[in-house]
Each structure stands twice: as structure tokens, then as C-alpha cells.
Symmetry: C2
Subunit: 446 residues, 2 copies
């Protein structure tokens, strides 16, 4: 007999109708990724600890494995569950390099794990849907612009609220801070990145107190972080701040090129936003972050960037990459909680074949097989109970049609639409349900 | 810079073309499961240790989690990665019982983890594809017969070698052994189940030595284990062995009912095989095991059974279930290793749009978008390199068509099939590739 149930916070699980929404979104995403030439891969769930640890800021969030009855503690104790899909992908590319063609474009949709304290929108296990391109030697800036284009295509086609994509280039921040005489720009990234969460006054205070910055310099940092434009005017706005630095110029040029490549996308869907840094240490250029309209307090629902060194073995064998990740579980958990979707039924089944008597079981099974061979999902009621009970089962599951085996004088059987109560004579060789009843339909609630 | 690569045995990873095969099989499986009315669910990767341990024989195979910097060691240290999908499913049903409709039919395709010593066909991480039905109170024997029917439908439609399904009922073994005066039939199950691996002589020796059985009784055990029929004749063969027991009679009746329900399936695809026990303690009736033709030494590639108590809270709230699991990774690893499949190309991309000059990038991108909007996967070559280099990229990736932007006097552009070298004039508003070139095709090598 089973033990009592322990609820685990931070490990979300969906009910069947929620899973239908998730599956449909996964299908639509994958189809679009493939239209852009991205091929699917999956990596193992575990990576050696030293590989996971090369990425900053995340050592506290990791799950390590040990075998319940470990004989070789040494080997197992150095494995951890991956906390994102970028680090494993970079390792995959290195490991299988000779068998891949570059630039290698892949999509990868898997669960990741983080040992974080669970809170609103933050889970210990969740789905990420990633696309990345890794080049051999160099990777054209073309791909830095292709990432937000695909994100826009995917996210605007899914039945979810609109997403605004914010783009920056770390070289702009790095060069600007260096131009101000700051020696460790990474520390400033982390604080300025918090602007949305804690506001300008607190960031300024932190810059002055935690980083011992003078007030003028701290305010100069905020001046850059305030710039947000949906066209190329950010370039002039930065130049007006009067900071000169070569890395800054390069960053402005790169971001201008990316924004220019995207100018055909609807106004406001893409924003150059010079305070976005992203937390991870491995980004070296373009960085992305997407917010869902009406759910901005959820934080970023997609993010990514360019990483020139993550997969590289050494200076001679560079494998620079760029990619984005969609936080599917985060998006869905919020939309499920706010009752955003409506699913037309709970079961894939379109037709329940009612069973009048045990002796007719073979007949019922064959009838169901005929429907299935035509792509109509069907199940046979497993016992010869009263029709009322069989119909109630269909009602509970939301199965729209019940098929009765009895034949009328013309040799036709009856199919009942149990939602309306309408019963029609049906010829098994021809009957098809209305298209909208063939599979469960997902709609957005008004 | 990245560390050197550590290869991890037991954690298989597929190359893109292998993953294409896996994805296609997953899609086909899911579609068939849904035609039979099974709905998709996923469960979290972890379960509390006490729940994982209720299933026998597996405590040595488990991975436990700990957080790298655990503050609350107590809570985390009791979590383990699931080693199958049945135990988590039973827990899911118990946890969400009030929101499910019974009999609840679900399919679940996820990775599972076992801390085993990796060997041929045995992995530490692998895909299982499961279907199960759990009833409330009782579950008709109808479903015990539906499982092998669906397995047959799924496995015979996938592009893999034929599978023979062996079916038994543990009540037959239990009743028969009890009828012989054996008090702990479970111990005999485990030994008789090894018949295929170690042969009759060794099993007999083990029965006599490990279980202190006399020779006559040991031989009687083997007599039952030898019975394999593809029709109902196993019933008479068992009766001729002269053992009388009520549980045995019930088992024979149940298995006869299941075999009778399946009599329309092709001869030889389903076999009543009275030595099959399956290793897991929770099975209480029907058990299944499937072997792949030509790969019998791989062991079972699918298996399952009826479990009347796994999800039940107590005698009053019974949630009996029956299900089967397809070991997809095991099947694929063997077929990949023997070069069984041929994939027509390595990339989803059908058309590469060549880039003649940087200034034409927008034009190239818009052309690709037009193709994509018609369901044709396209990518734009990211740099204005010589056409020879761009065509070589398409060749390496196996992209069949290259589109050139230059227009002829009639305003048509040229599309080259780089496999044949044929170049034709194409009208963007109408052009479609041959159907077989739209997506990568998977074939079985001759």
C-alpha cells in the first residue's frame, strides 16, 4: 500500500488539460524552429561538476547526484543536474565536433533543475526551449539578429500575451564603464541589471556603497541604463553622454547592425535597452531579455546572448555561439494560474463506442479500430453497463460523441453528440466528426 | 575557456540525424496513443525516497539528489530521480485524484535514471514511453488485453524490426507453485524468469540449491515455465500437469480472456508464455514482455503488467492499474549501432538562400520568410562569400536546394538542386519542392 503523499513545491506538474496546452505550444515552437533550419538535439541531464561550475553565479543553485548504494563514490559524486541548456550544448558541440557541420544550428527543449528556494515564477524543475548557433572560428553578427527574429516569430504565433524583446550589447556597457575609469565592469553589470526590480535610487546607492563609486560616476552609469529606443537613435543618445572608448564604439556598431536587421518587425516589439546585462558570466556581446505584456512582474520569460568563449577550447579553436532560451514553464504557470486558456475537452478521445453486451466486445473493438484507422480517436467502454452510465463516463471526460452498435432497418448505426443530445444515423465507412471536434481545441478565454 | 571533455558512459546522446529518427518515432507513438484515448502527462523527475523504495529490487539502482550548497539538507536529501514512470504515475494519480476522471488513461514519455553499471543495452539515463490505465475501485480485464493490442499497433507501425509480445499472469505461477506446496512463490518467480538467460539446467540447480527444493518439485516448476502457445491451448497444457489451486484457476481464466480478446491480431505476434514473471514486486496479475526479432539477446524492449495495489491508499480506496513501457533508448541504441536507418539529410532546411552581397540581406531574409510561411524550411547564408563556398555549406548539411536572388529577364530567379546539379527558373509565389524533399525522410537501410 502506498505511503501518504508529499507535495513538493518548486516541481510543477500539470493536469491533463494543462499538459495539452503545453504539448501544443511545444509542437508549434518546434515546427517554427525547424522552418528556420534548426535541428533538434537533447543532451544528457547530467554534466560533470567542473563543467557546470565554469559558469558564474550558479554554484549555489545546483543539484548533485549520488547513488543510493554507491560503490564508486568518486565518479558519481562529481555529477550534477544541468541548470540550463547552454552549458551542456557547448559541451555537446565540443564532444561531437567532428560529426557536426558549422555553423551548427540546434533547438533543444528539455527540463533543467536548480536548487533554488521556490517562489513565484521560480521553480526547481522547469522546461527551457532553446535555440543556439555555434560557429567554427567565427560567427557572423547575422545570427545575433536572427535570434530575436525567430523569438518574435515564435512568441507572436503562440496563443500567449505579446512579448517585448529588449536587446543590449555588453560591449556597450563594458566600454562605457571602462571609459568612466571603472576597472571591473562586471560588478556594475550586476547592479545596473537590477534597475527594473529595485529602481534607480537603490541602484545608485549600491553603486556608491558596494562599489565605492563617487556620485558623479554612479549617475553616469544610470544615464546609460536609462536609454531605451525602438530605433537606432540610441547611438546618438549614447554619444551625447560624452564617454569615449573603443569597446563602446564596437558595441554600438554591433547593436546598431542587429537593430537595423530587425527594422521590418512591428514597431515596439524590439527595443534597444541599454541596462540589460543578464546575470551569467559567459555572455560577451549581444544580450536579450523578453517581458510578457501584463506579466512584467514575472521578470524575463525569455533571454539569451552571445558567448564567444563558452565552447572554445583555446584561442586557436574558437567556437563562438549565440542563443536564446524561452522559459516555457514560467510562462505557462502564470497563464494557468490566471485561467488564461480554455481547452475544449480533457481527453483526446472523439468517440466512445458504447458496449451493449459482453458478446459484442469484438465488434465494438473492430469498430473503434476502423475509426482510428481514419484518424479519429476512439475508445471502447470496457463493460456492458447500462447506457446511462456509459454516457455519463463520456460526459465526465468531455468525449463529444457516443456510438451505438445497434443497427436500424437500413443497416445504419446511431451516433449521439452528447453535448447537444442530437442523435444521427451514421455509416461507419463515411462518418467523420466536424473538424473542430476531431482533437481538443485550445482557446484563449475572453 | 572550457575544460577538457569527460565522456560519460551510460548516458547516451544522439547525433542530429539520430535524434531525427527518435523524434519521428516519438511523434508516431504519441499519435497512436492518442487515437486510443490516452492523454499525455509528465511527472516531475524526482520523488521522495520512501515512495521510490516501495518498489522492490531497485534500491541499489537509484540516484539521490543533494544541493551543492544545501542549507536544508533534511528536505533535499530525501529526493531521488525516478527510475521508471509507473511509480511516479501512481503517485500523480493519488495526488490529483479529485481532478481526474476514471478509468484514467495516460501516456507518458520521459527519461528515467538508474545508477546501474552501464553495459550493452543498459543505460543510466534512458527514455521510457509508457501507457497506463488506472481505475477507481476496480479495473476491468478489458484493459489487460488493450495494452498488448496498442503495443502491437504502435510497434508494428514504427520503422523497427517486428516485436513478439509474451504474456503471462502471475496468478498462474503463484497458484501453481502454491499448489506444489511452495510457500514463497515470489522467490521462484525470480529464478524461473531467468530461463531465457541461463537455461533450464541452471534454473533447476538454483531452485534445488538456493530454495532447497526437491528434484521433483523443481522439475514441476520447469514444466510450467516451458509452456508457450499462441492460442488458448496453454490452458489444457497446464491442466495436464495436474496441479490444483484456486489462484491458478483464476489466473488461467484471466489469461485465456486476454488471449481471446487478442485473437484477431496476426498469428505469432502474441504468445502466452508461462515463464514470464518480470522483476518488479508490484505486479499482481497479467505481465508482459516484448522481444525484438533479430535482437533477442538485447532482452525485453517493452514490458509491463497489472498492479492492483501500487496506487491504492487502503483496501477501501483501491486504484488498480495496468500498463506497459516501451524502452525506446534501448531499441534505438541497438538499431543505431547496427546502422539500421538512413536519414535523407542532416538538417531540417530544404532551401538555402544564397547571399550575393551584404546589401541584399533584407531581400534574402524576406525571401526566406516567404518560403517559411508556406511551410518550407529555409535559411539564409549569413555572409556574402563566393557562391562556391555557400553551395559547399549546403552540400555539407545535405540541404537539397539553393536559391539565387538574381533575376532573369522574365523576372524569375534560379533554384539549384545541388544533388543533381539541375538548375530551374522559379517563381517565388508558386515554387514548392517535391514532397519527399520537404522534410528529412527516414528509411530503413536494405
Amino acid at each position: 500500500m502506498a505511503k501518504t503523499i508529499t507535495k513538493l513545491t518548486g516541481f510543477p506538474e500539470w493536469l491533463p488539460e494543462e499538459r495539452m496546452v503545453e504539448l501544443e505550444l511545444l509542437k508549434q515552437m518546434s515546427a517554427i524552429f525547424e522552418l528556420y533550419g534548426f535541428t533538434s538535439i537533447e543532451t544528457r541531464a547530467v554534466e560533470p561538476l567542473d563543467r557546470l561550475l565554469q559558469k558564474g553565479e550558479s554554484d549555489k543553485e545546483m543539484y548533485l547526484l549520488r547513488r543510493l548504494q554507491a560503490e564508486d563514490e568518486a565518479s558519481d559524486s562529481k555529477l550534477g543536474l544541468h541548470f540550463d541548456l547552454t552549458v551542456p550544448f557547448a559541451r555537446y558541440v565540443l564532444e561531437h565536433k567532428d560529426k557536426l557541420q558549422f555553423p551548427f544550428k540546434r533547438y533543444q527543449i528539455q527540463k533543467v533543475w536548480r536548487g533554488e528556494r521556490p517562489q513565484d515564477g521560480r521553480f526547481r524543475e522547469f522546461y527551457q526551449a532553446d535555440i543556439d548557433v555555434i560557429g567554427e572560428g567565427e560567427l557572423p553578427l547575422f545570427f545575433d539578429a536572427e535570434m530575436p527574429r525567430i523569438l518574435y516569430q515564435v512568441l507572436s504565433k503562440l496563443p500567449i500575451p505579446a512579448i517585448t524583446l529588449h536587446i543590449n550589447n555588453r560591449k556597450i556597457m563594458e566600454g562605457y564603464y571602462r571609459g568612466l575609469g571603472i576597472e571591473n565592469p562586471l560588478e556594475v553589470f550586476r547592479l545596473v541589471d537590477k534597475l527594473d526590480k529595485i529602481g534607480e535610487a537603490k541602484v545608485q546607492k549600491l553603486l556608491q556603497e558596494a562599489l565605492s563609486m563617487n556620485e558623479t560616476t554612479a549617475k553616469k552609469c544610470l544615464d546609460l541604463g536609462r536609454i531605451r529606443t525602438s530605433d537606432l537613435s540610441f547611438v546618438d543618445q549614447v554619444k551625447m553622454l560624452g564617454v569615449k572608448n573603443e569597446i563602446l564604439s564596437q558595441g554600438l556598431e554591433d547593436l546598431a547592425s542587429v537593430m537595423n536587421d530587425l527594422k521590418d518587425l512591428p514597431k515596439g516589439s524590439i527595443v534597444a535597452d541599454l541596462h540589460i546585462a543578464r546575470g551569467l558570466d559567459y555572455y560577451t556581446g549581444t544580450v536579450y531579455e523578453g517581458m510578457m505584456k501584463g506579466f512584467e512582474n514575472l521578470g524575463a520569460v525569455c533571454s539569451g546572448g552571445r558567448y564567444d568563449n563558452l565552447a572554445s577550447e583555446d584561442e586557436k579553436n574558437k567556437l563562438p555561439g549565440v542563443g536564446v532560451s524561452i522559459g516555457l514553464s514560467r510562462i505557462l504557470s502564470k497563464l494557468f494560474a490566471s485561467n488564461y486558456f480554455e481547452v475544449s475537452r480533457r481527453s483526446p478521445t472523439c468517440v466512445l463506442v458504447a458496449l451493449p453486451a459482453v458478446e459484442q466486445l469484438s465488434e465494438a473493438i473492430q469498430l473503434a479500430e476502423t475509426l482510428r484507422s481514419r484518424g479519429i480517436a476512439a475508445e471502447v467502454f470496457p463493460e456492458a453497463l447500462k447506457y446511462g452510465k456509459q454516457i455519463r463516463y463520456a460526459e465526465k471526460k468531455g468525449i463529444p460523441f457516443v456510438w451505438f452498435l445497434e443497427k436500424n432497418p437500413q443497416g445504419l448505426q446511431a451516433v449521439k453528440d452528447i453535448r447537444s443530445g442530437t442523435q444521427v444515423d451514421a455509416d461507419l465507412s463515411k462518418w467523420v466528426p466536424p473538424t473542430e471536434d476531431l482533437k481538443p481545441q485550445i482557446k484563449i478565454k475572453k
